[in-house]
């Protein structure tokens, strides 16, 4: 019996045992599930971050490569005093000329008109990239000129959506819900519509075309129409390069050697693009000087080096940012991006320990708990042949 009793008692678990075992298993399972969930979340977070920044990295690469192909096709030509070129007129001098234009600077300066959807900087130029509208006719001409541009745009609609995913405006149940994002955009004007040759520029007059270093040269209304018309048209030829880019900083510079020589020669002088503005059309002078400094006059010249800096945030951060911002303006204000990037001498951290614009902007992003990454590179423009001579 005793044996039998013992054997029976050995055949099963007591309730207590079962309860203990079950709760242990449940605990273990719970722990595992929690761990898996947490791992998955972490992984998802990490991979989404990588993907995010990978898109940004590819976009950055494409942008800088395209920028390095910028051309002005400059040449030296006679200038006629009266503007008429006849055999009977005497030319007054020789000047460097170009029909093309390279322009970069804060987008509110470039586009003007109180447009708030373009934060920070943009750059617009021509490059022989062969982008055509009618590829059957012209697709084989791969060196046709295009006007290209890079800028940020804050909008709720993704311009790259295929037509079948687009929704009517006011649709309460859109196929793809609107997402307020700051995107890196590329303007590509098809070569057939290439308009810079058609934009009327005034006759070149040395004095008339002088502008301060912080202003874009608008000698005539519409003289920037070669990109503004396309940009603001109903269906602009733009495409999204990357989502969630919150700052694009374009800083044209001299080569390190030239810059060193310039600073050595005149330590107090203003750098090439103090207010980030660079316009290859105008003779530029500084507000504290009355003469055009030939050392840093961008007239019909490409900048030798363009420092491109891009700040990207990840999608999760972007969604959080969008949640607290209803409009483009609010998004800009939340980012406080307008406080920075207006004076290029303040971009980097100062020698005296003052934090530069970029550092301060990153601190603002950290305050908002926005995961971000900064991409920066110096693009040397192959077509730039910087010369101090302006005219003869």
């Amino acid at each position: 019996m005793k044996n039998a009793h013992f054997s029976r008692s050995r055949k099963g678990f007591t309730l207590v045992e079962m309860l203990i075992a079950t709760s242990l298993i449940v605990l273990l399972l719970l722990f595992l599930v929690a761990m898996t969930d947490s791992t998955a979340k972490t992984w998802k977070y990490a991979s989404s971050k990588t993907e995010q920044f990978q898109e940004a990295r590819i976009a950055f690469d494409a942008m800088t490569r395209r920028l390095s192909e910028a051309t002005l096709n400059t040449y030296w030509d006679v200038e006629y005093p009266s503007g008429s070129r006849t055999p009977a007129t005497t030319p007054s001098r020789y000047i460097r000329k170009s029909e093309l234009r390279f322009i970069s600077g804060p987008m509110n300066t470039l586009v003007g008109g109180g447009v708030t959807k373009y934060p920070t900087h943009g750059v617009f130029f021509q490059a022989p990239t062969g982008f055509v509208g009618n590829s059957v006719n012209n697709g084989s001409l791969t060196n046709l000129l295009n006007t290209s541009g890079f800028f940020l745009e804050i909008s709720s609609t993704d311009p790259n959506l295929p037509p079948f995913l687009e929704s009517e405006s006011g649709d309460l149940n859109p196929v793809v819900p609107p997402r307020l994002r700051s995107r890196l955009m590329e303007l590509r004007e098809p070569s057939e519509k290439f308009s810079v040759y058609q934009v009327t520029q005034p006759e070149e007059k040395k004095d008339d075309e002088r502008v301060p270093r912080t202003t874009i040269f608008r000698p005539l209304s519409g003289s920037l129409a070669w990109f503004t018309t396309t940009l603001t048209s109903a269906n602009p030829p733009v495409r999204r390069l990357a989502d969630n880019v919150v700052a694009l900083i374009i800083l044209p510079k001299l080569t390190p050697q030239d810059e060193l020589a310039r600073v050595t020669k005149n330590p107090g002088a203003t750098p090439l693009a103090k207010g980030y503005v660079y316009d290859s059309y105008a003779n530029v002078y500084d507000s504290d000087a009355t003469t055009v400094d030939p050392e840093i006059n961008p007239k019909n010249q490409l900048p030798p080096v363009v420092q491109v800096t891009m700040v990207a945030i990840d999608e999760v951060s972007a969604a959080r940012l969008a949640a607290i911002s209803q409009t483009a303006n609010q998004l800009r204000e939340n980012l406080k991006v307008d406080r920075f990037f207006t004076d290029s001498t303040r971009l980097a951290d100062q020698a005296n320990g003052t934090a530069g614009d970029l550092t301060q902007f990153q601190a603002e992003l950290n305050k908002l708990k926005l995961t971000h990454r900064v991409f920066t590179t110096n693009v040397s423009i192959r077509g730039a042949k910087w010369s101090r001579a302006q005219s003869e």
């Binding site: 030296w76 070129r85 006849t86 001098r93 059957v136 046709l144 519509k193 040759y197 058609q198 101090r388």
Partner: protein, 1012 residues
């Protein structure tokens, strides 16, 4: 049994739990790894992109390195071509050492992927190294690739039929396709590639892949794969001869002889391969600068009858090219107006028929090298269509010299009115070749208009290989050092605050082009490679401008070293001491360019008429003279210690003594100088003269003499020469001073020349004589005397017999039938040409003793076109007189028959011959004429005395009875005796001399008696 039964149940649960956990963990791991691999592959593809870019960059870097090395070899001469740079020189066997200039090929720097990128030294002697071995290259895909393999593009637009285009990376083998369908040209001859692009053709060498279509193989461009190893080594291998299977010849191997570092290994594997080819844009036609004419204008193709795209120059002869049109069937002369068809043949344009219209200054097709887009587009487009493409060159007008002038009043017709837009084109320049498709103007629908003329993308694809939008090349000499500009620029005068403002736009541009590096406010002279000039009237100032002196030294340096590509001998070796002379002449040549730049005068409000302009304010004239280097067209030669320049300054090329018949000595002892006496012969042959007081016999001829100097200016040029004179503000004048004239004797009696030295100051210009542009000035220039003929006391030409010393040297009349000669005793003249601020040029001219013909009284008379004397009445008192159509030598008056012919007789007198030529070279008592011009040896000059515009003072201007007449033409008469010394630096085999040498030497010995 029971325990056995119960135990498996217990173990099973554990297994289930373990398995469940295993599955869970495995699932997690799979998910994790799948994520990682996705991440990895995307990172990898990004890295691949970077690698590809790096490989492409490495090819570019290799080429840049090759070019840099090839063009920087000191002492080497290099020349570029598509795909290669050739360097000539010898030595330089160790890297970095300089080459010795030589015409020997030193090395080949290949700019395409090849087994051996640099071929030099003994390798050059082995053809295998110089010529690529492309045998059966298409069977070795691991070793070779076709760089010109087309990419098939399927071009599509939504809703439109797609188009297939083959994009050839380097050159479209269009010609062979075209040849296949258009194999004959208009003349029935077989076409070659040259029919489409002049001088270019493609031929299949027959060794190509037979499986390719006919039109594909002709432009294949094999190049070797260069393998890139991980450590960056570039290496080429040999195709491995595998004969089996699909892998035939697709592998590559490295021979054992290849250095280990050049071989791939497990540690240093192959990471990529590159093949490339480098073009030379400078050997292409630049679409921005080339002009264009097309064979399409010319129905029968280009031949010597067609002048499309021709230059224009003043027509001078009646040749086909000069006149144009057709040949007149009757007279066989060109320029025939085809009355049947009512036109000149348009394609037969010539310089006369197809003159440029007003403002048509761009008739050259393209720049002076006449590169023409017509050579490329000639098969597609006409000339006028091509001119629609050119951004800066206008078409129209004379259609490149193929169209008749619009206004043909001279040929009796109205011509074809044609508009010509005189405004230069200022279209944008093309930034790339493909941009040729679009015109500069806006089209419709906010799109660019395509270029007129039917240029299609297809045509551009076919011709892209020959075109470029940028073709800059370095502007260095063979020694790899900067060239010197030929354009002189006004001196950057340190004491002049704004000397640059006196430079014209062209001056500034050319100075800029000849300045290395950046323009510097600190005036870094070492960068400037152009000559400066300031003072045309100084022999030393311009040469001593510091930078000019430096550049002279620079040229001495260049000419003292061997010439890369040609040899070790230098110009100094060849020319010895003449080298500096040549350099100085070059300097003066540059200094003499563009003496009177008039381009900016009007814009600056300065007087544009010829200097001196008394009406203009002095300040304006002064400013004008700062812009114009030498408004008078005169530049004094530069003098250095061992050399003298040519510049633009007169020297002497010939000096003559002229003996002339000046009157008669009568047997009664009196002398008559009046040529209007009546003459006759008596029965015994004695010469009789009726002097009004009775008839006398002539016993002797009176002879006087004068000297003339033919001046010569060694530099021809556009700026006309106006001699500055003593009355101009600067009080400077060219002067010629002669000493020793009194040494001349005739018949042992002095020729009445003044003693000591006498001087003539040049004045005015040689206008009307056609010599104001340089070269020979004739003898008239020294005759234009100072002071100005409008004021001051009369001065007389000093180099002549002085009548105050006597009426002339009597030479007895020779007996009839004996030659009349007289002994002339020569003299040694010191001739000095001087100018303020200039070292004078001195010549010692030694006229030898000689027996010379006695001057006679034979003169020029008027005649008709057959040479028959017509009239003789020059100085008759009743004007007007006919403009003499020509002069004919008359017989000596004394030899006229009895009675004389009617032309020789005075009015109403048929017995006596009357001479009317008078007053030649009288030093007195001829008063100034009514225009203030001193009578003796009056010379040419358009002015108030010239009523008929022939450039000579009129006969009719001579006051009646003043014995003053048209001296410009009649200074030399048939009866004169002239003896000359001419500059003869005898060149081998020649009797004449190079007068330019006279300007740079004082070699008096080269003046020798004239051979005639």
């Amino acid at each position: 049994m029971k325990p056995l039964h119960s135990q498996p149940a217990q173990r099973g649960i554990a297994l289930v739990i373990v398995l469940a956990f295993l599955v869970l963990i495995a699932g997690l791991m799979i998910a994790f790894f799948s994520n990682v691999s996705t991440e990895f592959s995307s990172a990898h593809s990004f890295a691949d992109g970077v690698t590809t870019k790096q490989l492409a960059d490495s090819a570019v870097n290799v080429v840049m390195g090759q070019i840099r090395e090839a063009t920087a070899l000191e002492g080497g001469a290099w020349g570029s071509q598509p795909g290669m740079i050739r360097v000539y020189g010898s030595g330089g066997t160790t890297p970095g050492s300089a080459l010795t200039p030589s015409d020997k090929l030193h090395s080949l720097y290949k700019l395409y992927s090849s087994e051996q990128l640099l071929v030099s030294g003994t390798d050059l002697t082995q053809p295998a190294n110089v010529t690529e071995n492309f045998a059966n290259w298409w069977e070795q895909p691991a070793a070779f690739t076709d760089l010109n393999q087309p990419v098939k593009l399927t071009l599509q637009n939504p809703g439109a039929p797609s188009r297939t285009s083959y994009r050839y990376p380097i050159m479209d083998p269009y010609f062979s396709k075209y040849l296949a369908t258009n194999g004959k040209n208009a003349n029935g001859a077989a076409r070659s590639g040259s029919d489409f692009v002049e001088g270019f053709d493609l031929t299949a060498d027959g060794s190509d892949d037979r499986t390719l279509a006919e039109d594909e193989k002709i432009a294949r461009m094999p190049a070797r794969w260069i393998y890139v190893l991980r450590d960056g080594t570039l290496t080429t291998g040999k195709a491995k001869n595998t004969t089996t299977g699909k892998a035939k010849n697709t592998t590559i191997e490295w021979e054992a002889t290849t250095p280990v570092s050049q071989r791939p290994s497990a540690e240093n594997p192959i990471v990529g391969r590159i093949a490339y080819w480098t073009d030379d844009e400078t050997s292409k036609v630049n679409i921005n600068t080339a002009g264009g004419f097309s064979l399409k204008n010319i129905p029968n193709g280009y031949d010597d009858r067609s002048y499309a795209g021709s230059f224009w120059d003043t027509p001078r002869t009646r040749s086909k090219f000069e006149v144009g049109g057709q040949r007149n069937p009757t007279t066989n002369q060109w320029g025939w107006w085809d009355t049947i068809n009512g036109r000149f043949s348009p394609q037969d344009g010539g310089l006369a028929i197809s003159q440029p219209l007003n403002g048509e200054v761009q008739r050259y097709p393209g720049h002076p090298a006449t590169t023409s887009l017509g050579l490329i587009f000639g098969s597609f487009l006409t000339s006028e269509q091509i001119y629609q493409l050119t951004p800066r060159i206008l078409g129209g007008g004379s259609m490149g010299g193929t169209a008749e002038m619009p206004s043909r009043t001279w040929a009796g017709g109205a011509g074809i009115p044609r508009a010509f837009d005189k405004t230069f084109k200022k279209d944008r320049l093309y930034a790339s070749v493909d941009e040729l498709l679009f015109s500069a103007t806006a089209g419709t629908n906010q799109e660019r208009a395509t270029n007129a003329g039917g240029l299609t993308p297809d045509m551009l694809e076919k011709t892209r290989f020959f075109l470029t939008a940028h073709s800059r090349a370095p502007e260095l000499n063979l020694q790899g050092r900067p060239r010197l500009s030929l354009w002189p620029v006004r001196w950057d005068n340190p004491s002049e605050r704004n000397s640059e403002s006196y430079r014209t736009a062209a001056d500034k541009a050319l100075a800029f082009c000849a300045t290395l590096g950046a323009k510097d406010a600190s005036r870094d002279w070492s960068r400037r490679f152009y000559f400066q000039r300031f003072d045309p009237y100084s022999t030393t100032h311009d040469a001593n401008i510091p930078r000019n002196a430096k550049l002279h030294t620079y040229l001495q340096d260049l000419t003292s070293t061997g010439i890369p590509g040609f040899g070790t001998r230098s110009f100094a070796d060849k020319f010895g001491t003449d080298r500096d002379q040549i350099l100085t002449e070059m300097f003066d040549q540059v200094r003499t360019i563009n003496l009177r730049d008039g381009t900016e005068l009007r814009d600056r409000g300065l007087p544009t008429v010829v200097h001196p302009n008394p009406q203009a304010p002095a300040a304006k004239i002064a400013e004008r003279e700062k812009i114009q280097f030498s408004p008078r067209g005169l530049v004094v030669p530069t003098k250095r210690a061992n050399a003298v320049g040519l510049a633009r300054f007169p020297t002497i090329s010939e000096a003559s003594i002229v003996l002339y018949h000046a009157g008669y000595k009568l047997n009664n002892g009196t002398v008559t100088l009046d040529y209007r006496e009546k003459f006759a012969k008596d029965a015994t042959g004695n010469y009789l003269v009726d002097v009004g007081t009775g008839i006398s016999q002539v016993s002797a001829d009176l002879v006087r003499a004068f000297l003339v100097f033919e001046m010569f200016i060694p530099s021809m040029g556009y700026s006309s020469i106006t001699y500055p004179n003593l009355s101009s503000p600067d009080k400077r004048a060219v002067e010629i001073e002669v000493t020793g004239m009194d040494g001349f004797q005739l018949n042992s009696q002095p020729l009445l020349f003044p003693k000591g030295s006498r001087k003539v100051s040049f004045t005015g210009n040689a206008s009307g004589l056609g010599w104001r542009l340089g070269a020979s000035q004739g003898f008239q220039v020294p005759l234009n005397q100072n002071p100005s003929h409008s004021s001051g006391a009369p001065t007389y030409y000093p180099f002549q017999s002085d009548l105050t010393l006597g009426p002339g040297v009597p030479v007895p009349v020779a007996a009839p039938g004996t030659p009349a000669t007289v002994a002339l005793r020569g003299a040694k003249l010191s001739v000095r040409i001087s100018f303020a601020g200039m070292d004078p040029q001195n010549f010692e001219l030694e006229f030898p003793d000689a027996n010379v013909p006695t001057p006679t009284d034979a003169v020029w008379i008027l005649g008709n076109s057959n040479g028959t004397p017509q009239s003789f009445n020059y100085t008759e008192t009743s004007p007007p007189y006919p403009d003499p159509g020509g002069f004919y030598p008359a017989p000596k008056f004394k030899d006229l028959p009895v009675p004389p012919p009617a032309w020789a007789c005075g009015t109403g007198d048929t017995t006596w011959a009357v001479k009317s030529l008078a007053g030649r070279l009288l030093s007195q008592p001829v008063p100034p004429d009514t225009k203030g011009r001193y009578g003796v040896l009056a010379t040419a000059g358009v002015g108030p005395g010239d009523s008929n515009g022939d450039g000579f003072h009129d006969v009719t201007q001579a006051p009646a009875g003043s014995n003053f007449t048209n001296r410009g033409r009649q200074m030399f008469q048939p009866g004169d005796t002239v003896r000359s010394l001419i500059f003869q630096n005898h060149l081998p085999g020649r009797a004449d001399g190079d007068f330019r040498i006279a300007a740079i030497t004082d070699s008096s010995a080269a003046f020798r008696p004239h051979p005639d």
